[in-house]
Assembly symmetry: C2
Homo-oligomer: 308 residues x 2
């Protein structure tokens, strides 16, 4: 390959995402294929959601964060794969009739529409457990394995993503104040937990897998927090401005069911301003990481500008 | 304390179970209390199911298995607590309307009857994740932590308890043969996974926590397999012979919904014979472990004779 083509590849975020997705999927396929004795129906349901047309944002962040601190992408593959298992588990459960009741996800029927609620609940449960099995099995150094397990379990659990989903699902019942400030505080807490915790963990876990020092881990932490908010604000904006076909799921649903979102609370203009502010915070963190962070930087900017 | 009272205590399985339960619950309460930032509703729902009037069989097996191989009960507390978190998660999800649809568990309304389906799903998810967080956080030696994590995740996941629940829930749809032999094989697979995997893991994890050698781990493994079947066969028998009040849940339900059970397939007499056979296998394993296994032995025999 010529230098010019390497250069072109380096600057193309789509090629970067394609590469991180391929590596993550290949790792995940190998891991799932090597599980013995899984009932066929459960395996099918897991694979339906795990290998659907996802964006693989969290794996990309983990792999590129490892690279950004001069680590080896290979070392962060178990972290990337475990993050995607947790993300997919959360989507399958969030889509259930008892939760957000969504029929469409990534342009296809949701897991429970195909396999029924019981299988979807169990497939989600299985992916939750498999994420931790993967980190325990596929990370060679036990102390590295435990560090990654701690990051992922805390980001996933009741003080992380699952806690955020409770707040998001139950907000109308929990709301007891009407002030704008209190609502914004609630919204930020929901976002920090529901989407933010796992995205932050992705950046941190990439750093941990690459054995980053405390200083670099702190930068990745700040980057992860900003990227988590960028991602969620763009999600909120897309729900308002997109069609079902563009999103691959039901658009405009947030407002329909009275969910707290940035556009609902702040209006479009202030929401754009907040997006810009968080994007700047992410850029500031990226600037501290140097040239190895260029692919990560390209993907972060693409996330801030995505249209689906 | 006099020798006589030690002797009396040693021979009383109820006192043994009371002690293992107290230690497990105290450990679990400390762990849950130290989680910061958990939304109140989620914490309440978790505590409702985790600290309800359970039998704490799996923690007892783990703690007493550690003692049986001359280990320290204290070292097995994280394993015991993590096993109970997984067990409670599975009960909360199994009781959901989309699964077994049970209103009553341990004499109280099931989690979703109190908190609603969404919160119950998320409380189950959270306990699943917390079990792994606990093992990663509370076991001091990383290589011990990883060994326990591997045991628990494999016993819980799609080739373990969760796989068994799929087979149990979906059996009517999966059944494509009518022969008695094929049905017994299906039943054994369901039992080996659904209840057996976690009970076997309890015995093994006690051994791992006590750093048992391969020989003793193998004995605990065989014990765990036999105890798992003993436990399930007694469960099947109690469902036929008990009242709702005795069980603390709906009795006679298995037959009502056409579930495969030992009494349905083999009749009461042959089921009793199979119970006796598995109990003997457990005894044979216990005999190989020597005097330190006496408390474990008392609890195993009590499980084979339990009436609720």
């Amino acid at each position: 390959m010529s230098d010019a083509s390497v250069q072109t590849q380096t600057l193309d975020y789509q090629a970067i995402l394609q590469s991180t997705t391929l590596r993550t999927d290949s790792f995940l396929r190998g891991f799932i294929a090597s599980r013995q004795g899984v009932p066929t129906l459960l395996k099918e349901s897991i694979e339906y959601s795990l290998f659907g047309p996802g964006k693989r944002v969290r794996p990309a962040l983990a792999l590129l964060a490892a690279q950004a601190v001069d680590g080896c992408i290979e070392d962060a593959l178990p972290a990337a794969a475990a993050l995607e298992l947790i993300h997919c588990f959360s989507l399958v459960h969030d889509d259930l009739p008892a939760m957000d009741n969504d029929d469409l996800r990534r342009g296809r029927p949701t897991n429970h529409k195909i396999y029924g609620d019981a299988v979807a609940i169990l497939a989600g449960d299985a992916m939750n457990t498999l994420a931790f099995e993967l980190l325990a099995e596929c990370v060679n150094d036990p102390s590295q394995s435990v560090k990654l397990l701690l990051e992922l379990s805390r980001a996933t659990g009741p003080a992380g993503m699952i806690g955020g989903q409770i707040l998001d699902t139950c907000y109308p019942q929990l709301k007891h104040v009407d002030s704008q400030a209190a609502n914004i505080e609630s919204l930020q807490r929901i976002h920090r937990l529901k989407t933010g915790a796992l995205i932050r963990a992705a950046c941190r876990m990439g750093g941990v897998a690459a054995r980053a020092d405390a200083h670099h881990l702190q930068i990745l932490d700040e980057l992860g927090q900003a990227v988590g908010l960028v991602f969620q604000i763009v999600d909120d904006l897309l729900d308002v401005t997109s069609s079902d076909a563009q999103l691959g799921k039901k658009a405009g649903k947030d407002a329909d069911i009275g969910k707290l979102t940035y556009p609902v609370l702040l209006g479009l203009e202030q929401t754009q301003a907040e997006l810009h502010r968080q994007h700047k915070l992410a850029e500031r963190a990226l600037d501290q990481l140097g040239p190895a962070a260029e692919p990560l930087s390209l993907v972060v900017h693409a996330l801030a500008r995505r249209d689906k």
